[in-house]
Amino acid sequence: MKIDLHEKRIPIIKIGNYLIVSIQVDMHDKLAIQLQSQILDEIEKTGAKGVLIDISVLEMVDSFIGRMLSGMASMASIMDTAVVIVGMQPAVAITLVELGLEMPGVDTALNMENGMEMLEKRLREEDNETFESH
């Protein structure tokens, strides 16, 4: 894999059925867009059923990154993959709401463990539905 030293890349880790993305840097807009397509590519490649995006170290989410995250969730959802945003800081949440970005329809979790449980639950519910319909 070619590594461009000038481009910070955010690593995407696959564990079981899930992808884990931990955003550790203050992203500029291009990097945010790049991350979005990177995750979608990875979903297609691995057939992951869920994505956990950890933003616990992000000190700021502005409207651009906010819309990138919620857009990401809708796009993944069309690809039949659930996205959970994990670990948002209280100050970030308050600011986002005041900004007018309430991110309806985006699943959130306090920590990775809760996020993982949410994905498991969703996956199992879907399994059960498939069985019932057969």
Binding site: V84, I94, V97, E102, N128
Partner: protein, 229 residues
């Protein structure tokens, strides 16, 4: 006594009166003429002394009053400082967030809510949610007499922010008066889970807890694929 001597004497006395008056004007309130001779002029001198006496009394009284007022003022300022301090303390104290059960936080709110207090409350609650990892919190407003648009919006903001963190926030104890105000103000609280009493909210929270526990157990012991067979 010669006429001339008399006139110089009188002139001296008038000079003295002038000097004394000048001294009083300059602030020396102890200056008096204290004439020892008795004649037509001494009446005037005595009268002037009396006037100075009166003036002195008046001035002393005024000074005393001024000092009293100043004392009172500084006392009031002191008290005001204490009040502000206590208000700040109260703000901190008035939003005690406590964990009452596995996964459940309660924030009982008592007294009038203003914008500043609601703001501090919201920050406290959200911090506590992250700190404890509790996914359900109950905001009990039984002790709140009224809410206005701003406060209702802050409550709404708290619930929405909590959701962004990944936690659910229930508001309990909405009195008929508050329900009426909220609807009259046209505030939409339909996106919020509200419960009539703290007890109802607790029951709801426990059920929610039990559901997650059940799911956890299920995922540990039962594989859905085997269940069908």
């Amino acid at each position: 006594m010669s006429e001339k001597h008399n006139i110089t004497n009188i002139k001296k006395r008038i000079d003295r009166i002038e000097d004394i008056l000048a001294a009083v004007a300059a602030g020396d309130l102890d200056a008096r003429i204290n004439s020892e001779t008795e004649d037509d002029l001494s009446g005037i001198e005595a009268a002037i002394d009396l006037l100075i006496d009166d003036l002195t009394d008046e001035l002393k009284q005024r000074e005393k009053m001024q000092k009293e007022v100043e004392d009172k003022l500084s006392k009031i300022q002191e008290q005001q400082k204490t009040i502000v301090q206590q208000q700040e303390d109260l703000l901190e104290l008035s939003s005690p967030v406590s964990k009452v059960w596995d996964n459940v936080l309660i924030l009982p709110v008592i007294g009038t809510l203003d914008s500043q207090r609601t703001q501090i409350m919201m920050e406290n609650l959200l911090e506590k949610i992250v700190e404890t990892g509790c996914t359900i919190s109950i905001l009990d407003i039984t002790g709140v007499p009224t809410v206005d648009t701003q406060v209702a919006n802050h409550l709404l903001k708290t619930v929405t922010s909590a959701r962004l963190l990944g936690a659910e926030c229930i508001i309990s104890g909405i009195s008929p008066a508050i329900a009426q105000t909220i609807v009259h103000l046209g505030i939409d609280l339909s996106s919020i889970k509200t419960k009539a009493t703290l007890q109802d909210a607790m029951i709801f929270a426990m059920r929610q807890n039990k559901r997650t526990d059940d799911i956890k157990l299920q995922s540990l012991y039962i594989n859905p694929n085997e269940k069908e067979e």
